[in-house]
Symmetry: C2
Subunit: 398 residues, 2 copies
């Protein structure tokens, strides 16, 4: 069964090896971040990791925008004792999709997250207590503003590329629209210019599960050892279903039972079918690594994302930039179906952009962009895209 997720530490020639998360403090008063809701907010600590070497010309940097529950640890191992490598280790490393022999790769935890970047579980320096729900309402735009500032802080004027899937792809689109001069290219995977009504619906169910958990306590639960664990697990369970395709669930689990060959006729046995057991396990694991308040803030940011609404039209959103685009979608992704990527691509082409688009024939659903099985295909697309662009840019600067 797929519940055995532990990998053994290995340090082969395609691994970035041991890495550590660094931290930068940005937007210190009086230079607070101006949030989309009109408030000012700072200071903001940003957790980030980097892989590979920045060239003296600082022209080889690629920024990874992580998805909803990701973090700054995209590749490599935190220690030889780590249970698994970074979340996109299959894609980032020497000779991999984002080839760290050539490129300098950055990944940072998002604003509002819970893995080192300031979020609702962080200590508010004014009160010395966690922000909880006094943390301000944030949007994808706010997340991108922080990342953009981090890139400036690292002394990089222009990124070779930015990339991400799902809400990471939304960040890519927003970055291109808001800071077009900061990027040469954008790689947007399994994403869309706005979240669908169905996507909002699933997020709303997840949030409600958290809000109705008796241990939620209006978001002030950090000194309670439990917190809204059961609500957060439930939110993850329903979300997890949307990340996978029906076919992949059928192939992976079908109607197979977990503990027995025979049906138990027991109403309260919650993990009788393998698919139930898998979902429960996913919920349980998630609670160990994620903060329920962050989940509320970040799903809401996802719901709010709508390039058309922010910029008046997609055309206007894309009108300032000149970055080359790589857009990918996955046949079995029903959360961000290909039709949404096609809409993006049409509008990018209408705006005169250089666009490469590919719909991958993948059985794995929305999570395809993260799946080892699909990474080789992505790599074959990304390598020439980046290499060609980098060749052009180096030519221009020489």
């Amino acid at each position: 069964m797929a519940t055995q997720m532990t990998e053994t530490f290995r340090m082969d020639e395609r691994s970035v090896g041991l890495v550590e998360t660094k931290s930068a403090t940005l937007f210190e008063p009086p230079n607070e971040l101006e949030l989309e809701n009109g408030m000012r907010f700072g200071p903001i600590s940003v957790a980030y990791e980097t892989y590979g070497q920045l060239t003296p010309e600082k022209d080889n940097a690629i920024f990874i925008c992580h998805a909803l529950t990701g973090d700054a640890h995209a590749a490599g191992w935190h220690s030889p004792e780590s249970e698994k490598p970074g979340w996109w280790d299959d894609f980032v490393g020497p000779g991999k999709g984002l080839d760290t022999r050539k490129y300098f790769v950055i990944c940072a935890n998002v604003l509002g997250g819970c893995h080192g970047t300031t979020g609702p579980s962080s200590i508010n320096p004014k009160t010395n207590k966690p922000y909880c729900l006094s943390f301000p309402f944030i949007t994808v735009s706010d997340i991108v503003k922080v990342h953009s500032e981090l890139v400036r802080h690292l002394g990089i004027e222009r990124l070779l590329s930015i990339t991400g899937g799902s809400i990471g792809g939304m960040q890519v689109l927003e970055w291109d629209a808001r800071f077009p001069d900061q990027i040469h290219s954008a790689m947007c995977m399994a994403s869309a210019a706005k979240l669908s009504a169905q996507g909002i619906a699933f997020n709303a169910v997840g949030r409600r599960a958290i809000l109705k958990d008796p241990n939620f306590n209006d978001g002030d639960f950090y000194d309670n050892e439990h917190g809204p664990r059961s609500g957060l697990a439930l939110a993850r369970m329903v979300a997890h279903i949307t990340y996978l395709s029906e076919d992949s669930l059928e192939k992976k689990f079908g109607r197979r039972l977990q503990h027995s060959e025979k049906l138990g006729f027991d109403l309260l046995r919650e993990t009788e079918f393998q698919i139930e057991s898998y979902l429960h396990y996913q919920g349980k694991r998630f609670v160990e690594r994620f903060d329920a308040n962050s989940y509320l803030y970040l799903t809401k940011a996802m719901d709010y994302f709508d390039l058309t609404n922010t910029y008046g039209s997609l055309e206007q959103a894309f009108s300032c930039g000149a970055a080359r685009y790589l857009v990918t979608s996955y046949t079995s992704d029903w959360l961000f179906p290909t039709v949404q990527s096609r809409e993006l691509v049409s509008e990018l082409i209408r705006s005169g952009r250089h666009v490469t688009f590919l719909e991958f024939n993948s059985p794995y659903g929305h999570d395809s962009f993260l799946m080892e099985e699909e990474i080789n295909n992505l790599e074959r697309l990304v390598h020439p895209f980046l290499d060609q662009l980098y060749f052009v840019i180096r030519g221009e600067t020489n």
Copy 2:
């Protein structure tokens, strides 16, 4: 918005008019029902309604198997003050799909339900208290055994047809396999020979929401005015998403806001988007009419349904019967996709059955079989199917 569901009482020539729910007591000791789990259970009260007139030959009866949260009240009005007619009123009545000028239509609440047929909220005559979780584990087969006995109780030897959608369609399939001599035909809509892994997954999430509700109290909540309302509402919200297609959600709600023209940047506003408001409303309404324990029992019965598992193979399940089949599916139904109906149809044909199959091009998702907009199409298929069969049968018996 679609939240205004009240209809005004009207008694036109296509309505069955005022109807009332009747009750029969079956399986009285010592003739208890033998359940699939091996236990014996009885007595069982069955709530049912009938529409139209049974012929003296008793050859014109059609039985409706309702879906997960339906009830015996399929058509007509309980009183002029009723807020709405029966759940399939568009399909049952004089001149309608199931034409009550010709046919005698029966609908009964399922075993384990909460609308008149014995279920977990019923009083256990041995304790004078509600069964709660002492109610036995039930399956689709048990539900069908009760309906089958009701039909005998009504003095009907053989039904002209049985019909139902979703888990109602599962009952249709099970009925044909278990009591083949009791039916002349079977009309199975938006259903399948087994629930998919994805279907089990969504049901598991719904059940978990109920089980984790602090007011669930191990199922013993009937003297608590609240009960697990919030868990049950959440279960309904997630299920409701699966009943509709992404396209229909997009067209009906899109990203439109409910209360304002402008985004509120308020984390705790749970009904900002219309789709959120709609889902919350659906959850709230559902809690007023449905029992959380029944929801646990019936979703579990749905998960357990697997003709192949019960009968060894689909071929064996279909080998005894001779009933003609009408099978329908809907293009936008992703909970019971057409591929599952095709599988059924292939196996029925291999078993030498007379089968009519149609995939309707419908945008409304799984609930299409209930939608007024689709009922006319269904009617055009069902009329000749039933009329032809009835003609043949009357010829045979004359």
